[in-house]
Amino acid sequence: MSYSVNISVEATIENQIQEIQYDGTEIYQPPLTLSESLAKYAQKIDFSKTSEVDIKKEESSEDSKSDTDSKDAFQSSIWPWDSVRTKLRSSLQEICVLADVLAIAKEKRYLVLDPVQQEPLETKPMVQIYARKKALGGAANVLLAGAEKMKNSQTEAARNRTTLDFHIELLRLRQNWRLKKVSNTIIGDLSYRTTGSKYLQTGTFEVTKAEDEEKPSSPPSSPLPGGPIPSKPNSALRVSIPTELQGVAYIEVLCQKDQEDLCSVNLNLMGTAPPPSNPDMHWQQKLEAAQNVLFCKELFNQLAKEAVQLQAPIPHMVVGNQIMATVLPGIQLIIGLRHSTSGDKKQQTPPPSKSDHDHVLEHSLHQLLREVHHKNTHHPFPHPATGPLGPSKKRMLAGPLAADRHELLEMTKTQTLLEQIVQQAQHFIMRMRTEYVLDTIAKEVKDPLISSHWNTLNSPTHSCVKIHISTHGYDAVCRTPLIIHVGEKSLKCICRDGKVMNMSYEPQELRDLIFCHISQHQIVAVQALAKTMGWQALGNSNHLGTGAVEPLGNSSSCLLSSPTGDRIIAVRCEPQAGPQVSVAHSPRTDFFPSRLVTERKWEHLGGQFRDVRLDKMEGRNFLHKMELLMASLTSNS
């Protein structure tokens, strides 16, 4: 109201813009109606001012009146009609008013007051800025003072108590977990759904502020060092997890022989698991544990589903929280879900059979499921970009490169988790058996040394071991290498000459094979030794047809003659009984002509073989004994 309107203001031709939408269209204010504009203009009239003028006028008139009054007062004494004049005047006034009232009543032209919207006042910007600055400054001071106060109390509280702020905790939680706000509650999700899991069970948890009832017990005003509160690292945040995800779970995998105490495993829920979760656990550990429970549940659920669906020759059994699959005849793979709820406080001692728990297989189960998850989300992108989403690069190329049926079939082949874990378990057992057989033979058989080298590289279902049979001190003379491939259900042995032997899962077969190779090794080694000694190998056979029938394999033999040809050694080696050595002299040192053998030359035909008692001979091992034997027979005695 500080300005006066002496200029007439006209409305702009354009209508005012009420609002500009995001797409740029402008919405105009509808133009004012006549009465509205009248009201608007009327509102601009400063009535007070005119009244002021009136008042001034009146004042001046009053002044003049008072002048006149004083004049009147002065004149009243001299003018006697004064009272008549005033009466006339007042009656004129009355009549005038009456006439006005009558005119208004008759013609109905009177003023109506309407409320009119005040137009925003345009003030000088600088003034406004100063004003606002001052106002803001005032507000800021208030806020700063308040903040200072809060900070003080905060630091004091922090000094007094170890509790963290709820919001900071929430921030930390948000950095690691998925959270969302639903009305007044904060809901989190710990399921593996975002990483490709298709398990139906939800993994929601609720985040709440820790209850306040604890706070009064430790008011910040009364810091009690050594009190019961600081001993408990309290969190301002509480996560509540659905009961089915509480506790600790793990997947137990064990391989066991037939009919071993099956029920005892079933009874105990608590294994060698980590200590049970207590309600005071930190939320991070709590959530991780719950997530692990969910994962184990999904894994077990998946395996159980597959176990029911798979058509195995010996059907898989799913009983309660346990899946039983026959891996090899007599050997079972048992996969169990062990889940202990937090309410179950008492610790039970793990049964002794738990020691068989196979951590490697458990790990690979976890790995397999994670692989499934990964595959569910990581689909390859097509190149070029217009290609369809979904098919792998290999499948995309199958058309143009004309992949055949076999390749296309291979692409569609997938193995279930259970199949894969059964295969791994089979291989695991095969490997264990092979190891055992090789180690026991190496322990039993001392004469040729048996060393086995396991490959450094192997796959979960395939490994390889190299076996060297050699004799101590004669390793440069002869060495028999063997390669054994350990598969899922079978063994394959490859010799240096390219012979391949396929064996089943029975460890006895491998044992027999190694024994056969040991006996053949002895014969080959004797011949190689003879060569270095200057002896001549007359003949050999790996599969001797003569002699007693062997319980396993065939005996092998060879004949050696001395450099001069007057001594012959025969060696026969049986897989079970070991080597036998016989010696023949020709000619015999003493010759007596008889009627049948008249001349000495016939004695060269060879004489009687006589057995050598090897066990009585000097020498570290068989080859050493043979070397000594040959050496003694070569001498010109």
């Binding site: 199958a398 058309g399 490169l401 004309a402 992949a403 055949d404 049926r405 296309l408």
Partner: protein, 208 residues
Amino acid sequence: MGVTILTQFNTENRSGPQNIEILSKRILALGATQQGQFLVDCETYTSVPQLGHQRTVHVLHNSEQPATVFSLLETGAKTIPLATDGLFDLLMMKMSHFYTSKKQTKSESKGPRYEIGDFCVKLGTVTVSSNFKGVLVEVEYRPCVVPAMCWDLLKEFLQGFLGLSGPTTPPTYLQNRMQENYSPIDTIHQYLEHFTMFRKSPGIGMRP
């Protein structure tokens, strides 16, 4: 992916099924096992006259490569091969304004499929618009991709089971491609060659 030799088997006054039966007996005696059936079919499209000089598109399917449609475009001057996804047939339908199919030349070879070691043997009865035309024997040696390397080996195999009527020289199509890497489209070329021959020939042995 291996090298394939396609050869006609002389009918020798026997009907098609008899020939197939004789060959099946022989191959089974060698120790082969039957692994389903096979089918190679060929449809020919020609360009409409408005499109300028005449071009022919042969569209072939081979059940050995079920995800692939092979097409050979003959312009007179050259032949351009193309291998695509199965949806190419759909495209040919869309192109029916420009390329029309000649139904009477629809040819196919179908019959039993045998596997023996690394060999794959197919005994096909050829029909052109459902008229019997002859017998085609396909032998594939899968591990090898260079025809020159394994031609002798294949010849030995073919003669071992077709007898004297086995081929003594490589198929004409392969003769100047012996050193190149063999690909499934080469098999298709051989089939097309035989199909065109059968189409031209009058119906020999009309017994189906």
